[in-house]
Amino acid sequence: MTRVGRAIALAPALLVIAVLFGGGLWMAALQSVGRLPMTGPSTTSLDAYRTLVGRPELWASVRFSLWIALASTAVAAAIGVGAALLFRPRFRARRVALALFGVALPVPYAVAAVLVTLGLGQSGLVARIGNALGLIGSPAAMPALTQDPYGFGIIVAYGWKAGVFMAFVLLGAMRRTGTLAEEAARTLGAGRWQRLRHVTLPALAPSLGAGSALVFAFAFGSFEVPFLLGRRLPQALPVLAWRSFVDIDLARRDEAAAVGLLIAFVAAAVLLLAVGGSRLVVAHRAGALRRAIP
């Protein structure tokens, strides 16, 4: 392809991204500074941001969303590493086991949230099993795991799907790296934990880091899971943004746009940091390798 041909081939895609993604962000930015008022004259001011910073609601949401995202990422990383180690060796019916384990992968998040409601709700299946075992007398005695102040149900929904996602990402990474380094460590006398800590995990670190950044950005900014499983206070940031956007008080749309931009900014920063971090690690390792091999 010539240079001009390439430019022509890429033009529609870049145009769509500029108009829909760039344009959407631009409209949100204009709205957040008061340039698109629903009523009254257009102004340019940081009023929406000023009002927001003064709202304790916002800070509760920031804390809650950070907590959900961090906890979900930690849970997903732990599940991913554990399951990848467990499912890595050849064993009988491995294909069937992986297909069943991976059932969460094609399930949309909206359905995952519904499953958590059916399973962990106060009259859900877990509560019923507790009742059959004589642990829970009535639905009211079941500890609140959905619409709870700690976002337990939300973390379960993210942990289930993202944990399986991480496991497949790591299994792929393991297949690419192979077992040579681990076998070498074994012949050099390294024990099971030493091999895991000094050989397997460092080899997985780039994939684990990239996967964690994706899960964090997603859990921090996605709407439908905390929308169904969260409660009014504290509410996740995207839910706060949406509620402000559809508030009867049309002036609150400016604040909604500001919160939306804040979410996009934090998620993008985390993703960019992860990319930068992985480049640093790669450069560092390449440098170490160059020094080791004269």
Partner: protein, 284 residues
């Protein structure tokens, strides 16, 4: 003596350790697959009161309501099919040339690639609110084309990446061979390149469709309550406490992604699986 001991140890290691690992493996499999079972049970439950572990009477009424010609579930299904079909087709039309350009190495390619992928990874709420405002100003809001257009934001990146992977795997040797045998430009495209691309193009189209299929927020904001796709109707049923109907519509909703993964599970190339997994992840 030592020799014998070693042999015994290796034999016992081969019989005991795997069986414990196997037990753990299947327990984990069961734990992660189990959440899907209540969905199937609820969809055919008639009366299922606390605290019974099993529905006391069964009924097909939830499924009948899903198939009811004038019902909300069927209209949600047609809205979903229209929106996702439209956004998959449009994203593929755009992704085919873009993917071809991104498959070749050139200076600045990785920056353009990052620019193409970015929109799928940044949380959509700000973009969705901005598009709602913009579409409202030009009178396009609450329509299926507007919702489909907003879905391009997450679908186009995956369609482009998968198309680029397809072109990248294409060996120029086949094209050269056909040229040396005297094939013209068009016949090389239709008889050599296109058939080799077809499977991955099908895959890219399916993923674009599925990423759009599971969108919630874009539809909620840009659809303005008029375009009600399957996930929106699902939440409406859950909100109304209609568990059986919610379960039945959820089954319809998860059927296409499940089917695709079952069909493609074996044949997916490794890098496609990685992109596909993140599409399934980020797409919701």
């Amino acid at each position: 003596m030592t020799h014998v001991r070693l042999r015994i140890r290796s034999v016992s290691g081969a019989t005991q350790a795997p069986s414990r690992a196997a037990l753990l493996r299947w327990m984990v499999v069961l734990l992660f697959a189990a959440p899907i079972v209540p969905l199937l049970l609820w969809s055919v439950a008639d009366v299922w009161r606390w605290p019974s572990l099993w529905p006391s009477t069964w009924s097909a009424s939830a499924w009948q309501s899903v198939l009811d010609p004038g019902g909300r579930a069927l209209s949600a299904l047609t809205d979903s099919l229209a929106v996702s079909g439209l956004s998959a087709l449009v994203s593929m039309a755009i992704a085919l040339p873009a993917g071809r350009a991104l498959a070749e190495p050139w200076r600045g390619r990785s920056a353009v690639r990052a620019l193409v992928v970015g929109p799928a990874l940044v949380p959509p709420i700000a973009v969705a609110m901005g598009l709602q405002t913009a579409f409202a100003r030009v009178g396009l809001v609450d329509t299926i084309p507007a919702v489909a257009a907003s879905h391009l934001v997450p679908t186009l990146p995956y369609a482009t990446l998968l198309t680029a992977a397809a072109f990248g795997r294409l060996s120029p040797a086949w094209d050269d061979l056909a040229r040396s045998l005297g094939a013209g430009r068009w016949s090389r495209w239709w008889r050599v390149t296109a058939p080799m691309l077809a499977p991955t193009i099908g895959l890219a189209t399916s993923f674009a469709f599925l990423v759009s299929w599971s969108q919630y927020l874009f539809t909620l904001l840009v659809g303005g309550g008029r375009v009600v796709t399957l996930p929106l109707q699902l939440y409406a049923y859950v909100g109304a406490g209609e568990h059986a109907r919610a379960a039945a519509i959820a089954c319809v909703f998860i059927a296409p992604p499940m089917l695709l993964l079952a069909l493609l599970g074996r044949s997916l190339a490794e890098d496609d699986l990685a992109v596909g997994a993140s599409a399934a992840e980020a797409g919701g």
